[in-house]
Symmetry: C2
Subunit: 209 residues, 2 copies
DNA sequence: GTCTATATACAGATAGAC
DNA sequence: GTCTATCTGTATATAGAC
């Protein structure tokens, strides 16, 4: 009995610990997005995660570690998202669906901005150690995925096109947030869809211009 | 003598006071842009302005007042800038010159982002009192000026076009900053110039499509 | 108007009991 | 592994001397 119960306890404990860790990560991503890095205290995150305040340091040694955890969370969410989009048959549909997702998030964008974009702005100022580029790395992931779609479409300068599309997203998110106007997302989103539809495409998935 | 010297002293004092106030405003705009609102202390601004730390509160009652002063500074700088651009003969030249100015600032944008844009992101989180939209108001000024140019060009939906142009600027600034790559400003800037040149224009300043 | 010293408050992090 | 109490540092803001 002792061995069995020990193993069981150990497993249970490890599971619980991992759960709390994940809860803290999710809470960090959520609260840091809404309140910003500097205005958010460890206590805020602990409360949001339903974890006792003093216990946080067992899972994350510093506040910066929590910020990195939030970034990992965003990174994971992005991977999930592109994973879903990849199931769509054509690159053009995938890109248009991505824009649709952005517009679908217009209310949260107008209230808090793009999670990764605002985090990038804040971390640039935070600038202690060399973790300023961590947010940039997540944005790079999105940039690279978008570039891949443009390349599959056979378009020239897929990297510039990706810059334009992701830049438009960051720009419209920032404006929607600064002016507290979700309609900006809708209007710019429609334009981006039209723009994507207007791009040269011979229907075979290979470039024609 | 007493009256004359008193008036003179008073004038001198007022002038000196106004100077220090302006020095503090300029320093606030500069330092808040570089370090961010939350990471900047009153002492930082005082040092940058060459004003004794404890003296700051004579000119600005709170830190928020200094932030607003920095915003006023940006607003003034924008007015100066558009004032210069307004001297150019055609709206199209004015818009292209604006893009040129943005690209000219690529290094500071890649290092610290757009002064007003990053401030808007930070103030959105700060959100105490109702001063969250103050930065939005400055962005609105730019948006309105750009919209006026598009309207003079006789284009339809000048407000949407303004949103697209200013959004592109905010987006490329954020990406350049997040990835620490000034080249992004150059590449997107070139595209924007080409886009502006491609817009329908009958040469009379009135719409043609 | 100028500046020093300090009150107040709070957040990040740690020690150590359980 | 969990949690409480607390140390320490630092920033805003104020009181009051000059």
């Amino acid at each position: 009995m002792s061995i069995v119960s020990e193993v069981s306890d150990s497993t249970k404990t490890r599971t619980r610990g991992a759960d709390k860790r994940r809860q803290l990560m999710a809470a960090a991503a959520r609260v840091l997005h809404q309140q910003g890095v500097e205005r958010t205290t460890i206590a805020d995150i602990a409360h949001a995660a339903g974890v006792p305040v003093g216990n946080v340091y067992y899972y994350f040694k510093t506040k910066d570690a929590l910020v990195q955890a939030a970034l990992a969370e965003h990174s994971g969410h992005l991977a999930e998202l592109t994973g879903e989009l990849d199931k769509l048959p054509s690159p053009l549909e995938r890109l248009k669906a991505l824009v649709g997702l952005w517009v679908g998030q217009r209310d949260v964008a107008a209230r808090y901005g793009c999670p990764t974009g605002t985090l990038a702005v804040e971390l640039d100022k935070r600038a202690e150690g060399g973790m300023d580029l961590e947010a940039g790395r997540v944005i790079r992931l999105l940039l690279d995925w978008v570039e891949r779609q443009f390349r599959e479409l056979g378009l020239s300068d897929p990297d510039n096109l990706a810059l334009t599309l992701v830049g438009a997203y960051q720009g419209m998110s920032l404006l929607a947030n600064a002016l507290r106007d979700p309609e900006i997302m809708t209007r710019e989103g429609s334009r981006l869809i039209r723009w994507l539809d207007s791009l040269p495409d011979d229907g075979t998935g290979h470039r024609n211009s």
